[in-house]
């Protein structure tokens, strides 16, 4: 078996309008995620990077229609699995963290309860044992006073802290082999962003977790990621190691993106 955990192979698709017209949005997207590596998928609005990630988990929008391609997870085509099989994979094998953590958490349950619920769903067992695990997970993502925080509701968490709780849920409670993060730091203050990225890289390196980071922020990518996939308008334009992409970009779009991200390249 190759060192790839996930392989996206010639994935193409379109959005179906209410009138029935198809608008192609993904064109032969192909890339691979190496085991234990932190891979970044970068692109701007409309590049399709999030759409591919949602497809991996089978939660793409209903108006999206697949035209061709496969998504191979450990050699199995996820697109061919039925809903029951996918449910077994979600959380247990592949997990996802979304952009706005406070919106992703249910506002009427305490954070601890939500984490405990997920724990019971994944591992079974009693409520108090699950709660202990929930508090422990919060502690491991550096949330101070985890026992007190577990009894609070999502709206009482700051943006950064809620994101930590989501990461705790997705990475620690769920124990997946693959963690996908869709713009996890967008909208957070830069100091909080830095903290969250450190947490993510810790989990990846120490836990050996294969991680896919979807982002448009090349600064974060340069500092933390091993591999990079560059997407534009539904196509993959370039892939490579982070070092290669940053020091010797081949594709003109990649070069433009880098130039735009480095506004002060002359001054620096």
């Amino acid at each position: 078996m190759s060192g790839e955990l996930l392989e996206i192979e010639n994935y193409s698709g379109a959005f179906r309008a209410p009138t029935g017209e198809l608008t192609p949005v993904l064109h032969e997207v192909s890339y691979r995620l190496k085991v234990g590596a932190l891979t970044a998928v970068v692109g701007e609005t409309g590049s399709g990077k999030s759409l591919v990630a949602l497809s991996v988990l089978g939660i793409q929008p209903p108006s999206f229609v697949r035209r061709s391609g496969r998504i191979l997870f450990r050699g199995v085509d996820l697109l061919g699995l039925d809903e029951r099989a996918m449910r077994k994979i979600r959380g247990a094998q592949i997990s996802m963290v979304f952009q706005d953590a406070r919106a992703a958490l249910n506002p009427v349950f305490t954070v601890g309860r939500q984490l405990a619920d997920v724990y019971q769903l994944q591992h079974g067992g009693g409520r108090s044992a699950a709660m202990k695990q929930a508090i422990e997970a919060l502690r491991r993502v550096s949330i101070p006073e985890p026992a007190r925080r577990a009894r609070q509701y999502p709206h009482e968490f700051s943006g950064g802290m809620a994101q930590r709780a989501m990461i705790a849920m997705a990475a620690l409670i769920c124990e997946p082999s693959l963690l996908i993060l869709d713009e996890p730091t967008t909208g957070l203050d830069v100091t909080i962003q830095s903290d969250i990225m450190e947490l993510i890289t810790d989990l990846c390196r120490v836990g050996g977790l294969t991680t896919c980071l979807i982002t448009h922020d090349l600064g974060i990518v340069a500092e933390t990621c091993d591999e990079v996939v560059v997407m534009n308008a539904g196509r993959v334009v370039e892939t490579g190691s982070a070092q290669a992409i940053f020091t010797q970009p081949q594709d003109p779009y990649t070069r433009r993106l880098l130039a735009a991200s480095q506004l002060v390249e002359a001054a620096a």
Binding site: T23, V25, E44, N232, A233, G234
Partner: protein
């Protein structure tokens, strides 16, 4: 900075929008609703110049004539032609309903916009007043007030519009209140609009969708209350060819087999109410500016 630079920007999502057709597609519910309503309006207008017989004169027929070629929809107990009475009735039911809705819409929305944009004390006072007002169930309130102020078509219209004002007020107030701190409201101030103009010229048009949708439902409701008041004999004279009144007068006939005296007015009311509901379905879609081009 040349236009070339502007065009060179990445905008893939525009492709989807450009494919939307120029003319909005009219759904079937909208067509049927509009057709029925136009039909009613046409009948009401025609009745101003012509009816088969004089609707108010009794004895044209013998009384309780079944529908026939002479009297297309039969006659009532007193022998007046049903068709003529229905046609004239359209003026009453439709006229009262539309007028009351128009008044409630304009008055309620205006106060609601002002309260929503200002916030603070004005808003609190208005809301509390509305809440007290809404403690009374609509039909009951209408009945009481009509009895109190006496009969007359103007009184009926005013009472019905009052019953509807609170709902428009709250709806408009909520819409404006939630939008007033949006950036385009701030920009409208910077561009030189006084506050009232920001509220009415900028914020209100963006809230049209929910308001219009509610108007249809409200119109259906008012039509029913109008007919109910007429059925109970309140507000209008006993011989008025208003449909609710006509149903009441035909009640005796239902048991003895003269079904047409109550049936056709009932059908007319059903059609009117149904038309409003159908229209309401499609109206809010059409007012979305994203559909326009």
């Amino acid at each position: 900075m040349s236009p070339r630079d502007a065009v060179g920007e990445i905008s893939p999502e525009l492709g989807a929008i450009r494919q939307v057709r120029r003319r909005p597609k009219l759904s079937w519910s909208m067509r049927i609703g509009a057709a029925v309503l136009i039909f009613y309006v046409a009948v009401a207008l025609i009745s101003l110049v012509w009816t088969p017989y004089d609707p108010l004169t009794p004895g044209v027929g013998d009384g309780y004539d079944a529908p026939s070629s002479a009297f297309l929809l039969g006659t009532d107990r007193l022998g007046s032609d049903m068709l003529s009475r229905l046609m004239v009735g359209a003026r009453y039911n439709l006229g009262i309903t539309l007028t009351a809705v128009a008044i409630a819409l304009s008055v309620g929305t205006t106060i609601g916009v002002i309260a929503g944009y200002h916030g603070g004390a004005i808003d609190t006072v208005v809301l509390r007043a509305v809440e007290i007002f809404q403690a009374f169930p609509g039909l009951l309130f209408a009945m009481l007030v009509v009895q109190a102020v006496g009969p007359g078509i103007v009184n009926v219209i005013l009472v019905l519009s009052f019953v509807g004002i609170p709902d428009y007020l709250r709806l408009a107030r909520g819409e404006i209140h939630s939008r007033r701190s949006w950036q385009y409201a701030e920009a409208a101030r910077m561009v030189g609009n006084p506050p009232w103009r920001v509220a009415f010229r900028h914020l209100l048009p963006n809230s049209i969708g929910p308001l219009l949708a509610f108007t249809s439902i409200n119109a259906a409701f008012v039509a029913l209350i109008t007919a109910s008041l007429g059925f109970l004999g309140l507000g209008l004279g006993p011989n008025t060819p208003e449909w609710g009144n006509m149903i009441a007068r035909g009640q005796d006939g239902v048991m003895t087999g003269q079904w047409w005296v109550s049936f056709f007015p009932g059908l007319a009311i059903l059609g009117l109410t149904g038309a409003f509901y159908l229209l309401g379905d499609a109206v809010s879609d059409l007012t979305d500016p994203r559909r326009r081009r």
